[in-house]
Symmetry: C2
Subunit: 889 residues, 2 copies
């Protein structure tokens, strides 16, 4: 006896997903629970595998079992397949375990031919309905089973309708004519006569589903997502029901709760006298589901009960498809419904309160990235539909913003001060543009990847940013932005809207919405007035109950630190001392320090900076009272602090009272072939120990002052770019000496740690030695990624998109931590570090610290904490909780 | 009873080096073999350790044992320590197991005071001799034991001599007066009265030796060379003998064979009526040792027999010190003699032929780097002494050269063509300077490290180069070179001489010598006419018998390949296809390819390059007939091929018939923030597959043509900068497809391999996956070092010297492979690669492939071969043999 290849819907259930596919298991489960589902059967995924094993031959017994199942269905519905008097029509669909792009779509009305068509017309007493059903069948079969270009059919339809008529205006005769034209196209394109035999149709449709499993798009998709080819797809054959049999018929889709807001209400839409595809196609405007209560109160009542029942049964929001055929409700599909971030959180919290799910299930239900939607303004989706899209770049900084184009950072600052909303548009940004970036609503660049300067600063600031928008060409002189491939030339002052969630840039002002949670955190709204805020904090408190990984923020200023703390950061994981260098006049002293000829001159300049740095640190310690603050000593290449334009250099020379040529020579001398691999990080402090000394003094004086005022301080001093333990030893000696001096001087005993960033591959490789000096490691995965891949993040924009596009890499490694390569070094660093210092504290402070998959990896390798930009702290909190839950699975 | 701390010379022997130190064991061994050695004794290294263990107190019994030993000596020589009538005088010296800078020098004539001085004068009947001995003693004791600045004593001596007199012209009275002045200086500086008691003198001298063991220089030295502090130093106390007792007395140093040429002849010099230090000090000009045969034939005969005997005893050339006191020969020290590379090889080969040592011992005796001296012209050492040193940089390319300064590469080429000898002097060099570098005698740069462009190209060309000569400031406009810290301004056209062995730059033409081996290899001399060549090849053939590691060369042209083969290269490990791009007019086609807008334009330009590349490959295959040739596909950033000056850009635009502004924009568009981490390596071939395709076609067509002519070809195609297996897969698919096409087309079956460079850390980390595609790995340790350390070799000149100077790193990692960090990745790459492909072929093609310590490391991790510049092949051959010998130890 051959294997069982075919299961009636009445034989399956939800647990048979592997065998029947998602769709097959779904309808079986509905059938099992008594929901009215048009009868049908599923051909198993095993049959698909066997089909390939046999060199694309149907497995032994498959066809016979299919016919037998068809027979059962015929009896159930009292119709016969291919019977001209009372024809059974079916739909055929693919259905793998996971829904997968590239798999075969639905073929409807299969079983129609000239004879059954006549029968259908007679039976329904509606020749036009029958003709339309036939037209649809030929069209779908031609396109999906026989692979004819769908455009050709659409073209025929348009021609037939002419300028003013709808589909529904076509007569039966016209529709029959169209169907014949379709067949002629099929004959010409596919080289086959349209099959008249319903059994032949069915066999071909099943074969087409099987073949689509190994279609190129499906295979590519599985490669990327590492889904094995051996899963196979199921094939669902189901009795047709018709929503287009008159005004007592309808078809629709609905969610059991509102997928946009999470409100506990039926949400959906339907069309009277229509078939399913019409709803999706948007040819007619559907009615909201609430209307159904008026139009068909009994059906509505039944539908609403079934919906509630399914939701309870699946313990999640269901996205259902239904058809009403002459007043009778049929459920065609049910699956978990997709929802917005806001809705996901509300629904999860509500369902816990309703006792439907537990907290851990709730935490699993929300993708961490979705929490972003609570924080940032978004482009109103409805408004976006009607807006003019100009170009698309990388979605680099969250939110959406409208503003007038400004190309110069100084002008951006000036015009913003006058109350204008501006968007800074640059080829790329540099540290000296910072003030202009702060002043802008959003930042838009033509060059640079997701960790380019613009992107990093934007996320740090929680500011909307689209970067690497290659279609823009910025002409600074003309004050214009050309959009490649179009005639559009935007001028300085023109309004645009930037969507940092999608990467789209729109012309003009497109409506945006401000986030409630932000208003609460800014004190512009009372927490109790925001239901969203309540849901948000409740949900995150559950994440905190579960997670083991600490979550800190990268913050350089008291303002950033305050935001971070409000978002639940448990400390600062990276405070970059150099960002403070750009504020106000202090850049002058910094520049003086850089061009100093002698240690004495350098010390003199450093003496001016020291009290300012100390003040900054005091501000941060105050805000972070009781929590640790990791402060990194000076890191970037010095030339980043110097002006490069002739005019600015002249100004600076004048200010400093030195010769212009001398200053130019100095600046030129600091130019490097590869600044990323040059004179930076601890190399600065090794050549100029007085810089490290000054910074250590500022930190410890700040700490002592705060402590004297009753503030609890836990500074963690971090030496960057260490590649050999000797570097850390040398810099650490300075820090410890200064600490002792300040403690002796002030009488305050400061509880501090000394550690290093692990951002150079060699540091990870020699972590056991480095940990003999370091009390903590913070993995700087931005640089570690650059060096492990040998890819500069500033230059990768040239080739990395191609890599991701052609699937050479699954993800941009600057966005999602490369666990295979860079992750090995992180794991090695942790293991080796702890081999010589078992209580070594370990964290991550690269951009990856706020990316969910990377956070989960950090949990798995046993880091103590992740640190990310303040606005991603909540994402990290949830991801950290999910990491624990995944571990328990 | 206390431990034995003191050994008479008669109690020790050569095997007691650990206990007695090198010097102590040496004199004991000589004593034991019957050589006349002034009696004495050695205080053990254990005593030194115990001295420190007891907090700088003499170990129990040490002083008593010292006195007892002294007593024995007194009896042996019939004099008494401190006896005014017949005083025993001694020398005191340190002597650790290895000689070590910073350890205490010799104190002579210890035991003198006013009374014994008088006795000495009476006894020798030579008051002036006695006074001079006293003067020397006070001076040395003051300087060495009491730490007084030696300059102060010299100053007094100079004053006393006045303008025209020698030391020997000073009278006894004057010398006594000087000694008194010395004592006054000592009193003032060291705050102590000069000790009159000989026993007190001895105790102080012994203490000073002990203390010098922990002196800063000695400690630093041990840190660097990882010598444990616990070795301790011995103290040698030895009866004084005097070479300055008249014309029947003398003192000298000699080698048992000529240390410069290796000739089997006594080689040395002596001074009549002088003390040891006079020979070294160079105040009087010593006579060659051959003169001694005439002056004191019997002593000479005895000395010459002792020398031969010692050489046979130690089975190595001895460097001896001797003194003749009133016609009696005394041997004071013997140790293995340092020698030049040429001498080392000749002596080693001769000694094998004499049956004194075996071949393996011979191979151990020559440091691989010393073989360089066979190949390159050197500055005549005598001439160098009188030459004017201008500045010193890094010794980057071997040899020495005279030439006229030229600052512009075009001019260098032009003037060289007119037969002028020029030296190209640049701030730094770039690929477009190549023709100028080729045309020059030497290259001198102000910036850049040992792996800067100038240095790499120079070594590749076997050309003399000094780079990173920071004291030079090059003013291109003025055509002048300023030497910092001096008034010297060199002009274009001035003669200079550059020494690539020492890094010194001399003014004018300093005599150099051309290498014989080179003349033979160039066919300018017959092998049988060169004894040196015979020694050289004999010696290397022994290395080849022993070594397991293959040795290949990096060579880009048939000429390079020919040289490499003559030096014994067993294949080409790296052929850089891009170096060919600069030759003649082909750079035009290359530039056309780079600025092409479409794949079609690019193919058109590539079509012009293809036949030229094919021709190059044919030339190389011909030369390497039967040996493998590893060819790397295009690697460098494209902008390296483009001009950067305004004029050159205009010219190019004109040539290509495109707009200047457009070309400028193109060039600007290729500018990168960090080119090292940018768009290069396989990333080029991934974006422009047509480049890889063209190169593969050129290789396989060349191979097929050669094979058809009976030449054996083994191309190995190497894809650079791979970080993920997907990159290699994609590029490899192209290579394999083209190979199949060419083989089908030509009917030639080519035996080739496909592999990759491992030069990105991630490649080493994921080597198991990469080896599923790669048939060989070649470790590109230049880039691997850059990325593992996060250090650009172009920029490291700014800080790396400081790292090495301050001992943060033991060696420049671009020179000597960093075994601790980068080496881990190499080892990992080999192990993981072989885990998935057991027969994976592995090699190294970075600069380290010719550095002896790195070669030995490559042997230990099990690489199949190293590949280095042709001129370093012989070094690698010897190092590879030594690696085997070290393994057997």
């Amino acid at each position: 006896m051959s294997k069982k290849w075919v299961y009636l819907f009445t034989e399956g259930n939800a647990s048979m997903r592997d065998l029947l596919g998602g769709k097959g298991a779904g309808v079986a489960e509905m059938t099992r629970t008594g929901v009215p589902v048009p009868p049908g059967f599923t051909i198993t995924t095993e049959a698909c595998n066997e089909y390939y094993a046999r060199g694309k031959q149907f497995p032994e017994g498959l066809w016979e079992q299919t016919l037998a199942a068809l027979k059962v269905i015929e009896e159930q519905v009292g119709k016969k397949f291919g019977d001209p008097d009372n024809p059974l029509l079916v739909s055929v669909r693919s259905g793998a375990r996971e829904s997968m792009p590239g798999m075969m779509d639905t073929v409807l009305n299969l079983g129609l031919n000239k004879e059954t068509l006549a029968g259908l017309a007679r039976l329904t007493n509606n020749p036009r309905f029958a003709a339309d059903a036939y037209r649809r069948f030929v069209q779908l079969f031609g396109k999906i089973v026989l692979g004819v270009d769908g455009e050709k059919f659409e073209h025929v339809m348009s021609e037939a309708k002419g300028r003013d008529r709808q589909d529904t205006d076509l007569t039966a005769e016209e529709l029959m004519q169209i169907a014949e034209t379709f067949k002629a196209i099929i004959k010409e394109d596919a080289g086959v006569d349209f099959p008249e035999d319903p059994y032949e149709q069915l066999r071909m449709a099943i074969t087409a589903v099987f073949n689509s499993w190994m279609g190129r798009r499906a295979v590519d998709y599985r490669r990327v997502y590492k889904i094995p080819d051996t899963l196979g797809t199921g094939v669902n054959v189901q009795t047709m029901v018709f929503g287009n049999m008159g005004n007592d018929s309808a078809t629709g889709v609905a969610f059991t709760r509102n997928p946009a807001t999470g409100a506990d209400e039926l949400y959906g839409e339907y069309l009277v006298n229509a078939q399913g595809e019409d709803v999706v196609a948007g040819i007619r405007t559907p009615k909201p589901i609430s209307k159904l209560r008026e139009e068909m109160p009994e059906v509505y009542e039944q539908f609403s009960q079934i919906a509630k029942m399914l939701e309870r049964h699946y313990k999640d929001v269901q996205d259902v498809e239904f058809t009403i055929e002459r007043g009778k409700l049929w459920m065609l599909q049910t699956r978990n419904g997709k929802r917005t971030g806001m809705a996901a959180v509300k629904i999860a919290v509500d369902m816990v309160n309703e006792g439907l799910i537990d907290k851990r299930t709730a935490l699993r239900r929300v993708q961490p990235e979705m929490l972003n939607q609570f924080l940032f303004p978004i482009v109103n989706p409805a408004a976006a539909e009607h807006a003019t899209r100009l170009a698309r770049g990388l979605a680099a900084g969250p939110g959406a913003a409208q503003g007038r184009i400004v190309l110069d950072p100084d002008e951006a600052a000036a015009r913003s001060e006058q109350g204008e909303r501006v968007i800074l548009v640059r080829t790329e940004t540099a540290p000296e543009d910072f003030h202009g970036m702060v002043a802008s609503q959003a930042i838009l660049t033509a060059r640079g990847g997701l960790t380019s300067h613009a992107a990093v600063v934007a996320r740090q600031l929680g500011k909307c940013c689209v970067c690497g928008c290659g279609d823009l060409e910025i002409d600074y002189k003309a004050g214009a932005v050309h959009v490649h491939g179009t005639d559009v030339i935007l001028k300085d002052g023109d309004w645009i809207t930037v969507d940092g969630h999608s990467g789209w840039v729109y012309a003009g002002q497109v409506e945006t919405q401000e986030a409630e949670v932000i208003q609460v955190i800014r004190g512009q709204m009372k927490p109790e007035d925001s239901k969203l805020y309540g849901y948000f904090t409740t949900f995150l408190s559950w994440a905190d109950e579960v997670r083991r990984l600490g979550v800190r923020a990268n913050a350089d200023t008291p303002t950033d630190a305050r935001v971070a703390r409000l978002f639940g950061a448990e400390g600062i994981g990276l405070c970059r001392t150099e960002h403070m260098f750009f504020e106000g006049d202090r850049i002058d002293a910094v520049r003086e320090m850089i061009v100093a000829d002698t240690p004495e001159d350098r010390r003199r300049a450093l003496a001016k900076i020291e009290p300012l740095q100390q003040g900054d640190f005091e501000g941060i310690f105050e805000v972070m009272d009781g929590l640790p603050v990791t402060i990194r000593t000076l890191d970037p290449p010095l030339h980043e602090f110097l002006p490069h334009g002739d005019r600015e250099i002249e100004e600076l020379a004048h200010k400093m009272g030195i010769d212009v040529a001398t200053l130019k020579a100095k600046i030129e001398g600091l130019r490097e072939a590869n600044p990323m691999l040059g004179f930076r990080g601890c190399r600065l402090g090794i050549e100029y120990p007085e810089i490290t000394e000054m910074q250590a003094r500022a930190i410890f004086h700040a700490a002592a002052n705060c402590q004297a005022r009753g503030i609890k301080v836990h500074p963690e001093i971090m030496i960057p770019l260490v590649g050999d333990v000797s570097e850390l030893r040398m810099q650490g000696d300075i820090v410890r000496r200064v600490a002792d001096e300040v403690m002796a001087e002030t009488g305050q005993k400061i509880d501090y740690l000394l550690g290093t960033m692990i951002e150079v591959p060699r540091a990870a490789l020699t972590a056991d030695k480095i940990a003999t000096i370091a009390e903590f490691f913070s993995f700087g995965t931005n640089d570690l990624t650059q060096m492990t891949f040998g890819m500069s993040r500033d230059d990768a924009g040239r080739f990395l998109p191609l890599y991701v596009e052609r699937k050479l890499l699954k993800d941009d490694p600057f966005e999602v931590l490369d666990q295979e390569g860079v992750g090995q070094l992180v794991r090695m660093g942790v293991e080796r570090g702890r081999s010589t210092r078992p209580d070594l504290k370990t964290g991550i402070c690269g951009e990856h610290g706020g990316e969910p998959e990377s956070v989960k990896f950090c949990h798995r390798v046993g880091l103590n904490y992740v640190s990310c930009s303040p606005y991603r702290v909540v994402i990290a909190r949830l991801a950290a909780a999910q990491a624990v839950l995944e571990e328990q699975k």
